[in-house]
């Protein structure tokens, strides 16, 4: 597939936003469960706001993908069948709940609403819980947009969902680590440890999907495409010599070298370097963490670019040659 840059930004930005929120929200629970030391000042408003802004930025990026953004509201209509439609619902839902969470925190409207066993649960925790659900749903919806296309075999796998989730989480925790360092608030240790763990997990899972994709062969061949069963078939003409939507939208034009470079880059920049930086820089140096974040984000952009490059659309067998 040809990389769709608006979609690359959409998925990476919201992924980080989603991960960030879950990082802080999970910390909140751990504190509540006494598994983590409460941190000093209240950082969650800031974190939720950044998470919210990332979701907004992603949404904005997605508009560039639409031919008719003014009609975007229509896109919620088909939630019964369309993962895209579901994403279009999940994203605002996530935004709304994250926003509400931030507002509650900011204005201190945080009354206790119920107790779970012996643990008191505040309004923000409840709203946060809803946000968490929305965010998880959003992860699933976003990933399923790709994973549900069954003839894009490289995408059509639970690994796509896992990857989207793990990468979003990893970048979110890395971002949380940076925030913790920057604001000197929040459980730095937890965040960085999780960031390392998630980055590692994401790397494993991505490597797994890379190796899976390496051996994937589309069942669609020229033979099945035109229904002629002969071992040698060559296309001579595709009916349009100056190109068509089909040659522009489904095929990338990068050379093999660029593609190889892209793959190495995203593996190193998105995973290996952040891992090393986060792991070995025990010191909570802002510079080191910020560098890890930047590298990881660039890497994940490249990963998403590669995600498109990797996917071989069966329609391409119809568009091989002109004459």
């Amino acid at each position: 597939m040809k990389p769709a840059f608006s979609v690359i930004f959409l998925t990476t930005l919201i992924g980080a936003g989603q991960g960030l929120f879950l990082a802080y929200y999970s910390a909140e629970w751990l504190v509540m469960l006494n598994m983590l030391q409460p941190a000093g000042s209240d950082y969650t408003t800031l974190a939720a706001s950044i998470s919210f802004l990332l979701l907004v930025a992603g949404l904005l990026a997605s508009f560039f993908h639409l031919g008719h953004p003014e009609r975007a509201w229509r896109a919620a209509a088909m939630w019964r069948t369309s993962w895209l439609s579901r994403e279009v619902i999940a994203l605002p839902a996530a935004m709304a709940t994250v926003f509400a969470y931030a507002v509650i925190r900011y204005f201190g409207l945080d009354l206790q609403v119920l107790t779970l066993g012996r643990i008191p649960v505040s309004l923000s925790t409840l709203v946060g819980f809803m946000a968490m659900l929305a965010i998880i749903a959003l992860f699933v919806c976003t990933a399923m947009i790709y994973a549900s296309l069954k003839f894009l075999r490289q995408w059509h796998s639970p690994l796509t969902v896992l990857n989207f989730f793990l990468m979003g989480m990893a970048s979110g925790f890395t971002l949380a680590t940076v925030l913790a360092v920057a604001t000197s608030a929040g459980p730095f240790g937890y965040f960085s440890a999780m960031a390392v763990f998630l980055t590692l997990a994401a790397l494993m899972s991505r490597l797994f999907s890379l190796s899976r994709n390496l051996n994937l062969r589309s069942p669609s061949t020229l033979q099945s495409a035109i229904g002629v069963h002969h071992p040698t078939i060559r296309q001579m003409a595709q009916g349009a010599m100056g190109g068509s939507f089909n040659t522009r939208a489904f095929m990338h034009t990068y050379g093999a070298g660029v593609v190889r470079l892209g793959r190495r880059f995203f593996l190193i920049s998105g995973f290996v370097l952040p891992l090393l930086l986060l792991f070995f820089s025990e010191a909570d140096s802002l510079l080191v963490c910020a560098a890890a974040l930047l590298l990881q984000f660039l890497g994940l952009l490249a990963e998403r670019w590669y995600f498109f490059i990797e996917a071989e659309h069966p329609q391409n067998v119809y568009y091989q040659m002109i004459s």
């Binding site: 040698t232 060559r234 001579m236 009916g239 349009a240 010599m241 100056g242 040659m321 004459s323």
Partner: protein, 957 residues
Amino acid sequence: MAAKPALKREVKSTTCYMCACRCGINVTVEDGEVRFIQGNPEHPINKGVLCAKGASGIMKQYSPARLSKPLRRKAGAERGTSEFEEISWEEAFTTISERLQQIRDTDPRKFAFYTGRDQMQALTGLFAKQFGTPNYAAHGGFCSVNMAAGMIYTIGGSFWEFGGPDLERSRLFIMFGTAEDHHSNPMKIELAKFKRNGGKFIAVNPVRSGYAAIADEWVPIKPGTDGALLLAIIHEMIALGLYDRDFLLHYTNSPDLVNADADSDDFGLFLRSDKEIKESCIDPDNKMWWDRHRDTAVQAHAEGADARLMGEFETEQGCKVKPAFQLLKERVEQYTPEWAEGITGISAQTIRRLAHEMGITARDETIELPIPWTDAWGREHESITGNPVSFHAMRGLAAHSNGFQTVRALGILMTILGTIDRPGGFRHKAPFPRPIPPCAKPPRSPDAVQPGAPLEGMPLGFPASPEDLFVDDEGGPVRLDKGFSWEYPLSVHGLMHNAITNAWRGDPYPIDTLLLFMSNMAWNSSMNTSGVRDMLVDKNDDGEYKIPFLVVCDAFHSETIAFADIVLPDTSYLERHDAMSMLDRPISDFEGPIDSVRVPVVPPLGDCRPFQDVLVELATRLKLPRFLNPDGTRKFKDYKDLVINYETEPGSGIGFLAGWRGKGGEKFMRGEPNPNQWEMYAKNNCVYEHKLPRSYQYMRNWNRGYLHWAQDHGLIRYTDPVNLHLYSEVLQRFRLAAEGKSAGRQPPDYLRERVRTHFDPLPFYSEPLETQAIDKDMYPLNAITQRPMAMYHSWDSQNAWLRQIHAHNYLFVSPLVGAQQGFGDGDWIWVESAHGRVRCMCRFSEAVEPGTVWTWNAIGKASGAWGLEAGANESKKGFLLNHLISEEIPAAAGEHRYSNSDPITGQAAWYDLRVRVYKADAHEPQETSPQFATQARVPGMEPARGKWQAFVRGLSK
């Protein structure tokens, strides 16, 4: 989908002219703008279907490459630089008619008038004849004259407009060298039906594309060798007795006795009886047969006679004679399938099998229609029989210098199979069959050209003997293109492809004014295109152009208009009246004569004027007799008026259109002019169709009823049967002259051998002339072109839809060639002939005979032409093969230059081209070569359109 405002919507019938097939179309016009063009289901040619071009007519009509103003080359501007100024029609008329008047009054030969892919030779020919110039021809000479002449001189008709395969009833159909052809849609309709009915379709073609794609069998022949294949098939059929003896006996000259006495002055001529013959045009029935039972020579077609087809006999007078068929048998003895295998690249086994399939299908699947008829000798027949093997062929046979004899061989194969004008075989279309050869003759001497007077005789015709040549006392040509001279005696369509070279060289003489109509001679219809472009701008020492005045009538911004001194903007086909006339090439089908018209469906663009009106106006100003009343006043207001009122001779009742003649439209074929004729055509799908009675629809060469009907209706002059010329006495007459055996005209000495060799009364195989003249090892590959179905010559690159299908072209080569030369699929390569070289991209193909390379014809364009941007694919990646094809056979300096043409008919030998190919250097520019300076847009053209275009009726403006 919002409701649209109600529009004024009309559907108007007219005739398509995106190509020469002439399908009926219904044009939906909304508020004066074309919305949709659809095939007319009521039309006999296309029965409602269309082709890619026809359906893109809108984009032609609204093309930004349309010309809209008469133009004059700016004073002082160099020719070829496209510097024009707008002038009025009055200025254009005055300029041209003053010049032409001067020429006509002094030396009418100095005006040459050549027309390209038009369909109005009835009018253009009339104009030329009335003007008095011998220098007139249409595109036929560079197109397919071999096909026309080879067949007409053999069976009295030919393919395409003249006749075709009866696929409705055929069981086996063999197509030679056809990519698309003129009968585009009808062929496709019939071919599909034929295949659905289970017939077998064989394509003989070096390339498998187009029609050949759906053939059941592909016979990949080497170009230029079909003659060998056909002769070997004939060999096998005669050897096995797979010919239709009955048919040969009664309807061909096979049994006619030929003088076989090599010492006799009549050697090779038919033995003639003293039977009294009527005044008859060419082929009187006074030949002799050898009767099987009485073992003696008898009058041909004598009651009860049963002739021998084979053997050698001696007449009572002691003359050695042989039946013509015996001569054919002897001729083909050498042409064994094994011999042909080495030439054609087709295995002897395949050749035998093809012969067997044809012979057995023809013999065993005979059709018998319960239609009684009477033959020309008065014999009654209970039924019409037919042998269901049919053929079609076009330029793959025609466009070679050995094409005439190849086509003769095909005509003979069709004849011995007994398939002429019979069900399931070949069938004629009115006005064919015509006598062999037809009656029209070119003038016989330079005296036919006189200042201030019409040409005596027709500018084009069908010579039957050396006496019919248009030569001077020394045997030199009278025509600029040397047509009907000893160099190309049967050039029945002229040699347009040599007109510019000859005029430039002043051989046989220089001219003053050249008028080109609908012909892109500075590009795709010239051989040696780069050279021709130079000739058009070449000057004498005195600074005058070698071709002093060039008038071009075109509808589009073609390459040629850049070289014009005056440009006349023509209307589009949707803006004018046209007649597909009985006087030219009507659209008749097997069942009877049909003609048709075009009527305007939208008003002309800008100042465009129909060229027909322009010609009528010029003719009137020049006071050409047939355009004036006896009192010298103007006779025809315009073309529309001329079509109604013109008669071939005053009172003949024969005019341009056959339908609705007579005062009230009650007559057909013959009748007084009808003032409402156009309206009646317009009301009837623009078609007049006459269905002959069933008993006149077959065996027309010998069908008494039909022949009388045809005579009564002015199609033919005589009712003599048209026996098929298996053996051509016409050719033998030229040979005898060349051998110095006959009294009368003889060729100049330097041409004797050429005429003697090629005017063989029986077909023979010889290598194409170019191949004989060059080093074959140096140029090992044959290079040919073919028509893409979605593009018409050079016309359609201005069409926004069609050019997306063919934006540029590749040279298709076998991967074997690439491997040998070390280049890969898609690489830039050079293609080089003895004449020049072009750079292009290659594309590997498994559907081409490995010794052949080919490309789509005329996709490549000159930069800037056709209203295209300078960087358009057509000029940067597209290329024209014509740069490699010489218009003359390679010759040493000082040697006589012959046209690169068939020595019999002057047919341009486009497909004799031999080339070599090699990889282009990596650092060479990635664009085709040669490139030409970008041609400028001209006044009257729309400004260049932008990046986007969306045609929607009513919204596009």
